[in-house]
């Protein structure tokens, strides 16, 4: 890396492990296509919605799995269905609203209509007019419904999959990840506070890496270093499922200020003092059970954030090899006091596309992508804490990133 080296366009993962990750994984259209096939359309559960977003019969929300547009809808029986937003006739992406309420779905092109389970109901002029035209005699409506996805609803969170052999949801998460998932989503009623949507100029995997990279928060983010929210001397746990694809970064905040964790750290500002302390008016909640922040990356579609009183679901939607959409659903709980809601809203100023902390991340990811485009055959150096993959109790480690790429390599056969 330190020596001059002309670029080449060889696509080869030279190292056997996952501690050196070639840049072409983040730039190559062929790799991106295979990810759509094997990851987003593979046997994985993708986050799509919260049941709180579709409380009543006919309520729907439109979203994406990979690049495929899907509709999450509650039917008359109260069941949650996920169907592809694409007419079975001529492919019209018929639903354009973010959300709403419908008795059925009608494609505007030729008015094919579908019920809330995605079954084809009506086909205009199916038997022709005046004995002429119409569908062939062997046409059966039941063969021409919308694509129906597999659905898993767990404690108010809805996941879906295009893959017929997707494992049971709890098995998909594994016991350790399920424990952290249920720490936030324990079945209590959720309250959606609003959305933030951004397009980030980098490969989708970079945001998972960002939330598996427990090393950077105490370096990139002045707010985290100064106020002790996330930094090198926090008590921490960084853990994975058995296949190492999912992870949870767990930390306990400290008092911040000067110390071993700020020595030589240029983002630390000894003279920084908030004019309005309400940004960090943190109230410890009993369900935290110790950690003050848990960031859970559920491969491949979502990151669950609890950082002090701010709770958010961050959905990841790939938009070509060099961009992804990052959709934040900011949350509270139905039994929050008005003061707690206010606190969650205020602390959300640290997160989202304009956040005091999160803006650092989306900006840096853009620059990482630019760097990778320069020389796709080169590779990241990801050996902090060694080359092995194991849970750890220090933030000075890149083990979670190595874990994800170990799994990725198997699935992608690269």
């Amino acid at each position: 890396m330190n020596h001059p080296q002309p670029i080449s366009f060889v696509r080869q993962w030279r190292d056997p492990g996952s501690s050196r990750i070639p840049y072409w994984l983040y730039t190559d259209p062929e790799i991106y296509r295979r990810e759509q096939e094997r990851i987003f359309n593979g046997p994985h559960w993708n986050y799509v919605a919260l049941t709180a977003e579709i409380p009543h019969a006919g309520d729907f929300k439109r979203t994406w799995i990979g690049e495929r547009s899907v509709i999450v809808v509650r039917d008359e029986e109260g069941n949650v269905n996920v169907v592809e937003n694409r007419c079975a006739h001529r492919a019209t992406q018929f639903c354009q609203e973010h959300s709403g309420n419908r008795k059925d779905f009608i494609c505007p092109y030729h008015q094919w209509s579908y019920d809330l389970q995605g079954n084809l109901q009506g086909v205009p002029f199916m038997r022709g007019i005046k004995g002429k035209g119409g569908m062939p005699a062997d046409f059966k409506r039941e063969n021409h419904g919308l694509t129906k996805l597999k659905v898993a609803v767990h404690n108010g969170v809805i996941f879906a999959s295009f893959h017929p052999d997707v494992p049971d949801f709890k098995e998909f998460l594994g016991p350790t990840m399920l424990k952290y998932f249920e720490r936030v989503f324990d079945g209590r009623e959720l309250k959606v506070l609003g959305y933030n949507r951004q397009r980030v100029a980098g490969n989708w995997k970079l945001i998972h890496e960002n939330l598996k990279d427990c090393y950077h928060p105490g370096l990139l983010h002045t707010w985290f270093v100064n106020y002790g929210l996330w930094r090198a001397d926090n008590e921490s746990q960084n853990v994975m499922d058995d296949l190492h694809r999912h992870s949870a970064m767990v930390t306990v905040r400290n008092q911040g200020g000067q110390g071993e964790a700020t020595t030589g750290v240029s983002s630390f500002r000894a003279d920084m003092a908030l004019n309005d302390g309400r940004f960090l008016d943190v109230e410890t909640e009993p369900w935290w059970d110790g950690p003050t922040a848990v960031i859970q990356s559920i491969f491949p579609s979502v990151i669950m954030q609890q950082q002090i009183n701010s709770v958010a679901v961050r959905q990841v939607i790939p938009r070509g090899p060099k961009a992804f959409d990052y959709i934040w659903t900011h949350l509270g709980f139905a039994d929050d006091t008005p003061e707690m809601t206010e606190r969650r809203l205020r602390q959300a100023n640290l997160f989202g596309p304009a956040g005091f902390v999160s803006a650092d991340d989306s900006e840096i990811i853009g620059l990482v992508e630019e760097g990778m485009v320069q020389d796709p055959e080169s590779e990241t150096f990801c050996e902090l804490g060694g080359r092995e993959i194991a849970d750890t109790d220090t933030h000075i480690s890149e083990t979670l990133i190595r874990g994800m790429y170990e799994y990725y390599r198997k699935v992608m056969e690269v």
Binding site: H98, V192, L193, G194, Y195, N196, R197, Q198, R199, V200, A201, L220, T222, W223, S267, R269, M272, L274, N275, D276, R278, F279, D325, H330, T341, L345, R346, A348, N349, G352, P353, A354, F356, A359, D360, S362, E363, I364, G366, L367
Partner: protein, 156 residues
């Protein structure tokens, strides 16, 4: 509304625009009263009555903290911004409290790149007079833009 006040409102908008486009961020909080609300919020949240914003600052002190963030702590690739602000529509005026709105367009120019529409929306403002100067008691920037291109760093 008398012509003097109408011109004063237009001056307020023009001065604000110059301030945020010329990167005079230290002056930015002074366009607001001590107790104030500055909100950048998507049209989606605003029309649905959802309280979440991209940014919501509730005091001049918070605006000062944002300036410190913009100039000292938030890592970002540099860019220029250029606001094109429409003529304000005065909605109401009573007891010295003026409610007015104006369309805005923010063009972002990143280094080595083309100028592009960054954020398009509408200001919904509450303006009061303080020591002879008009100030925003509330400035809500409701943006149509469905996706924020990367991040919002500088004040809109």
């Amino acid at each position: 509304m008398d012509t003097t006040t109408r011109f004063a409102i237009q001056d307020l908008y023009a001065d604000y625009t110059r301030c945020v486009d010329d990167s005079c961020y230290e002056e930015w909080p002074e366009f607001f009263t001590d107790e104030c609300l500055y909100r950048n919020v998507s049209r989606e949240n605003f029309e649905a009555g959802l309280p979440m914003s991209a940014l919501a600052l509730e005091s001049k002190a918070m605006l000062k903290d944002r300036v410190y963030g913009v100039t000292q702590t938030i890592f970002h690739a540099p860019y220029f911004q250029r606001h094109i602000v429409g003529i304000p529509k005065i909605i109401s005026e009573s007891d010295g409290v003026i409610v007015s709105e104006a369309n805005y367009l923010v063009i972002r120019t990143k280094l080595d790149s083309f100028s592009e529409v960054f954020n398009a929306g509408r200001y919904i403002d509450t303006i009061v007079r303080e020591n002879g100067r008009l100030k925003f008691r509330q400035r809500i920037c409701v943006f149509d833009s469905e996706l924020v291109p990367n991040s919002i760093i500088y004040p809109i």
